[in-house]
């Protein structure tokens, strides 16, 4: 789960990371009040869950409250298109009005899981303000790393090593150690999957500060963070994905026209792949899970069909634990209830498959049956042509 910059900064501040003074605003009046409170000179920043806001015109400097309002009106309620939003962009509902600071230097600081080591890694770079992937590709020598031992946490010597390697002046080293350790405490406490400060700045006055904050959380750990769960912004998510998550269905929208319903994530990905190999385009990823009931199958159907681009549906189920007869009944009931107008191909294999096929055949619904995965994919691709 992702959160906004202003929410991330509020969390980081609680853990002792210095952040600029700022206030979130969702109306022009609030922008004006916040700017006045900051003494006039301020930065207005669009709050969307995507990077590249600055380049896209989503971050503006103002020298007085009136100018802040004028700049804010160019962003608030508008669609912001950055290289991460896709061409459709994201609508801006909130702005962060923040104290403007005198930047001396920009640094990158991030923490992320290193899967190969099963540990959290701190990543630093003197190239702040640019995407770390870009730095890693062009200047790998500018990427500095320290791996954190979970038994003891991030140690001061590791932070010092990074700070000295960044070439920071000696009076800044202590401040940087505090900054890094605070970020790790936040990362660990909140079950983050990513915590990124880019840029971390050194001000002309000799302070270190988080000028931006990107925090992302482990979905599997949200059960123990109700406060973080409350920060979820549904405006930032695909409505069909939100709907699916209510029924514990794992759904992801894609660009094609063949809807898929599969049990198991690996098989669901493989089903998308085989549709593509047969010359079709999958409209979605959908894992109904192992114990899919009749009701879940029906919900899955509704979500797939709510995508108006869908011209046909392929159901691919390998019934191990899930019985094919139960699935078939769920499909038949849902197809009747929703009076499905597009071609439907069902490929079932596994426990009680004969019984399942009989239920489909006896239903007198125009369901196309397939024995193998390849046959199922070929039939649905033909059917939508």
């Amino acid at each position: 789960m992702n959160i906004h910059e202003y929410q991330g900064k509020e969390i980081l501040k609680r853990y002792g990371v210095p952040v600029p003074v700022g206030k979130v605003a969702s109306t022009l009046q609030e922008v004006k009040a916040a700017a006045a409170e900051l003494g006039g000179r301020c930065v207005v920043k669009a709050q969307i869950h995507a990077g590249g806001r600055g380049k896209a015109g989503g971050v503006k400097l103002a020298s007085n409250p009136e100018e802040a309002v004028a700049k804010a009106s160019e962003i608030l309620g508008k669609n912001l298109v950055t290289h991460q939003t896709g061409p459709e962009g994201r609508q801006v509902w909130h702005l962060l009005v923040e104290q403007s600071v005198n930047i001396e230097r920009e640094i990158y600081l991030g923490m992320v899981l290193d899967r190969a080591q099963s540990r959290v890694t701190v990543i630093c770079s003197s190239e702040g303000g640019v995407e770390i992937e870009e730095v890693a590709a062009k200047h790998p020598e500018k990427i500095l790393k320290e791996t954190i031992d979970p038994a003891v946490g991030l140690q001061p010597f590791q932070c010092r090593r990074l700070a000295f390697a960044l070439g920071l002046a000696s009076q800044l080293i202590g401040k940087m150690v505090v900054m890094m350790q605070s970020l790790y405490h936040a990362f660990d406490d909140c079950d983050c999957s990513i915590a990124e400060i880019n840029p971390l700045i050194v001000t002309k006055e000799g302070q270190v500060m988080a000028l931006d904050a990107k925090m992302s959380f482990d979905d599997n750990a949200l059960f123990r963070h109700q406060d973080i769960l409350a920060l979820r912004d549904l405006n930032e998510e695909d409505p069909r994905e939100v709907e699916a998550s209510k029924y514990e269905l794992s759904y992801i929208s894609l660009d094609g026209n063949i809807g898929c319903m599969v049990n198991g994530a690996g098989l669901a990905m493989a089903t998308m792949d085989i549709i593509k190999l047969c010359g079709g385009e999958p409209a979605n990823f959908l894992d109904v899970g192992g114990g899919a009931t009749k009701e879940r199958v029906a919900h899955a159907f509704k979500i797939i069909l709510s995508d108006t681009r869908v011209r046909g549906v392929l159901i691919n189920i390998f019934g191990g634990i899930m019985r094919c007869d139960v699935l078939a009944q769920g499909v038949v009931d849902a197809a009747r209830e929703l009076s499905i107008k597009v071609p439907l191909v069902v490929r079932m294999q596994g426990t009680n498959v004969e019984l399942g096929r009989k239920i489909l055949a006896d239903s007198s619904l125009p369901i196309i049956s397939a024995e193998t995965m390849a046959e199922g994919a070929e039939k649905i691709v033909q059917a939508v042509k």
């Binding site: 899981l113 899967r115 190969a116 099963s118 540990r119 959290v120 770390i132 992937e133 890693a136 031992d149 979970p150 038994a151 660990d188 079950d191 999957s193 482990d218 979905d219 599997n220 750990a221 059960f223 123990r224 794992s250 992801i252 894609l254 599969v262 049990n263 198991g264 994530a265 690996g266 098989l267 669901a268 990905m269 493989a270 089903t271 998308m272 792949d273 085989i274 549709i275 593509k276 190999l277 999958p282 990823f285 894992d287 192992g290 390998f318 019934g319 191990g320 634990i321 294999q349 596994g350 426990t351 193998t372 995965m373 390849a374 994919a377």
Partner: protein
């Protein structure tokens, strides 16, 4: 022959009184697995399907000599269950539970560094040696005893591959699901190494998916160590970047972990890649010169 588990394996179920634990313990017992005990704190002294239940893993081990544990406890308690099993000296811990927080698994892996236990999973289907021992949630009836080793990050896609092998007359020595989470126990390399040394395994099917770099690491290892033919498939060739495809670990982030990178690494290591998930069995036939 086989790897990890066989006829002599003595299995303990942690979370034996939950719905999932009961269902699969029963199914595994019916398959012929030696299910010797169960653990649910507070339910010690009772039994399920004739299997004695204990309050602690240590007690279950001392009373029933269990050497493998299978875990079905809910995600918030899974890390604790794994560590309890390790502390009790269980040799192989198989965690089926899906949804264990990454932070918990980071701590578990650190804990296991000082223990002799090995961990399979979490978020995995388990392991089966056809005809001898089934531990986990895979459907037993699609498997046949034979000489093909199967290792995979997926559940149902593994069943699909196994089904293809069985239909083409190729039985399996053992099938191992290493799981779909970013932090887990056994890696591809660990399982490949076991298959490499197992006299009963003639060739191996390796099924990977997007996210992380385990497949690339496995490809590197295979290039210099593997003496047996390997057939591979990578799921998620059409997956968009930045989206988690069901499995917590199946995500292309920062442009890394794509199917293309993995397929190229595996091909260059001499692995015969199935171009379609429907051709995994057929590709194995080709690799064995049976076509």
């Amino acid at each position: 022959m086989s790897i990890l588990v066989g006829k002599q394996t003595r299995v303990l179920t942690q979370g034996i009184t939950g719905a999932t634990g009961q269902f699969h313990t029963k199914a595994c017992k019916e398959y012929g697995t030696l299910m010797v005990s169960g653990v649910t704190p507070g339910k010690g002294g009772t039994s399920f399907e004739g299997i004695p239940i204990f309050d602690t893993v240590a007690r279950a081990v001392s009373e029933t000599a269990a050497n493998v544990s299978v875990i079905y406890v809910p995600p918030p308690f899974a890390a604790d269950a794994i560590m309890e099993a390790a502390d009790a000296g269980i040799a192989l811990i198989i965690c089926i539970t899906e949804g264990v927080p990454v932070r918990d698994m980071i701590r578990v892996k650190r804990y296991l560094e000082s223990r002799s236990s090995q961990l399979l999973g979490p978020n995995c289907p388990g392991v089966i040696t056809p005809g001898e021992c089934k531990i986990g949630i895979m459907p037993g009836h699609i498997h046949r005893p034979g000489t093909i080793g199967v290792v995979s990050r997926s559940g149902t896609l593994t069943y699909e591959a196994v089904d293809q092998l069985t239909r083409l007359g190729m039985g399996q020595s053992s099938c191992v699901g290493i799981g779909g989470d970013p932090v887990h126990g056994f890696e591809f390399v660990d399982v490949l190494d076991l298959f490499n040394r197992d006299s009963g395994t003639e060739a191996v099917v390796m099924i990977g998916e997007i996210g992380g770099s385990a497949e690339e690491e496995a490809a590197n290892w295979i290039r210099s160590h593997m003496k047996k033919p390997v057939v591979g498939f990578i799921a998620g060739q059409t997956a968009p970047p930045g989206k988690r495809m069901g499995h917590a670990g199946a995500i292309i982030s920062g442009g890394r972990g794509t199917a293309r990178e993995k397929i190229e690494a595996m091909k260059s290591a001499g692995i015969r890649m199935a171009s379609s998930p429907a051709l995994i069995g057929k590709t194995m036939q080709e690799a064995l010169g049976k076509l």
